[in-house]
Subunit: 302 residues, 2 copies
């Protein structure tokens, strides 16, 4: 059996995921839970990590590498942002050692962009994982989710990026807003989605008034709840595509995200003639943390 | 002392407002509370109305006229939509008598538009109040709020209308979303508002990526919480103005809404050279209910 080499952790706003790794980058064991930053006080992080490591029987001398919001100012221990453009091997080199723990714990920095102002924490590690698998990658990466990132990558570096709050907006409109009365939790219509993407691409300025129309169609028209939900998604993703046009206009796009969400983006890409491919976000996160660990070993002789 | 002639009620999603009126349209007494439709079962409406009328000592034979969501399918008693274009005196003529109450209660219908699909319940009564004061009014009416309405009025009729969920979106972004960490409840900057309106008007397609930038400016820039809040408002109102351009492009605009909110729209109007004026929404509601009551008297000899 392989020997534990290090522990990789993705510690986000809402979730915690941990992988026990061997030296070759194979996952030996893993665990996860809903104890994200938003539920924790800074003094809670050490205990939560320890409980999870003990549960999996990880020895006290095994180093831990963490990415995500645990490194935010309001997280466990601030890992100051790198500034784009930046090489991605800097993530491992600039990782911050956490002082108030018995373990050897390092947190990777996020990346900021000064103008236009932007920040990321976690996505940079997934892109680093992409580079671990494809060292010569050059092009646009889209990471759809709560805050979807569009990132230009070249020369082993992040050049610049944009963020659209598409996932958070979809959750608000479909679960909380007046439109939520018109949505089913699981229903879907590919046709309604495609039509809405087309409408938003053709006239993006109409989207603010087309959102309420989803509700009105439900009250007085023939629209099903499944169509309403798909239409909302299509309007928001279409609007995002127009806002991020320079990122995909002359580029292939590599998606990193949840498979179902990536499929939606691939459908939309097909409508506008973008060649896209999807990579699994968990695999990219693990690869990015492995890459950072290897760099740290070279840098600090851990 | 004047004698009570009828009772006017604006019964919306979140609030209930009641005015005791004399025959000349003067308000003799009033009350209000948070018992809107969203908190009530259909069987609760009769009791809530009775409690409020008893509190004010209104005799059992005084007729009651209601506008708003109490007439929705999920409200007290459905008052089916009129279809735009429609004359506004039809509100009084088509009011629905409520069966399951000891009182003489009528609920005014809302208005629907078939294509593009749209609905309103409550705003039509305010516009009717505007016509009560200005019988020859012709032009565009904007009713800013949770769901801002833009309405074309001519020949004592509502011709067509659009809805933008600007107020509901502002509440979501400023109180719930990740941007809420960057907002103060009361802070404001006229300059930041004006700049954001200008940006949204100049490049409305950029708004989806500029929303998250408000958060990023807070984390890495010099922006104050007051500027962040005003910037969010300016982006959303600017985006709404672009979406509703046909309603204001060649028209003066009459605003009906809360005074502070109307002031914001007037500031934005000034930036794009629209002549606007603001009317108080409560006064317009009362006048609209009075107008409907008078029509009912002529129609039904109440």
């Amino acid at each position: 059996m392989s020997q534990t080499s290090f522990v990789a952790v993705d510690w986000g706003t809402s979730s915690f995921r941990l992988w026990v790794m061997d030296a070759s980058g194979e996952v030996l064991n893993s665990t996860q839970g809903p104890f994200g930053m938003s539920r924790l006080k800074p003094t809670d992080f050490s205990r939560v990590l320890e409980e999870n490591l003990n549960k999996l029987g990880v020895d006290a001398d095994v180093p831990v590498v963490i990415c995500g919001m645990a490194g935010a100012a309001q997280g466990w221990c601030e890992a100051p942002y790198l500034t784009a453009p930046t090489r991605l091997d800097a993530l491992g080199k600039c990782a911050v050692a956490v002082a108030n723990t018995m373990r050897h714990v390092r947190i990777l920095p996020g990346i900021k962009q000064l103008s236009p102002a932007n920040v990321m924490r976690g996505e940079e590690t997934q892109i680093s994982g992409l580079l671990h698998h494809h060292p010569d990658f050059s092009g646009t990466v889209c990471l759809p989710g709560t805050h979807t990132k569009w990132v230009r990558v070249a020369d082993k570096s992040i050049l610049d990026f944009e963020t659209c709050m598409t996932g958070e907006q979809f959750a608000f409109f479909s679960e909380t807003s007046v439109l939520s009365h018109s949505m089913t939790v699981e229903g879907w219509s590919d046709t309604a989605f495609a039509n809405a993407v087309a409408v938003a691409l053709d006239d993006p300025t109409s989207v603010p008034r087309l959102l309420f129309a989803i509700r009105a169609e439900m009250l007085i028209g023939e629209q099903s709840a499944a169509e309403a939900r798909a239409r909302l998604s299509g309007l928001l993703i279409g609007q995002e595509l127009v806002a991020t046009r320079p990122y995909w206009d002359q580029e292939n796009v590599t998606l990193i995200g949840a498979p179902k969400l990536c499929d939606l983006y691939l459908q939309a890409f097909e409508q506008i003639g973008i060649a896209g491919r999807a990579m699994d976000s968990e695999a990219m996160t693990v690869a990015g943390l492995l890459f950072a660990y290897q760099i740290q070993q070279e840098t600090h002789h851990v």
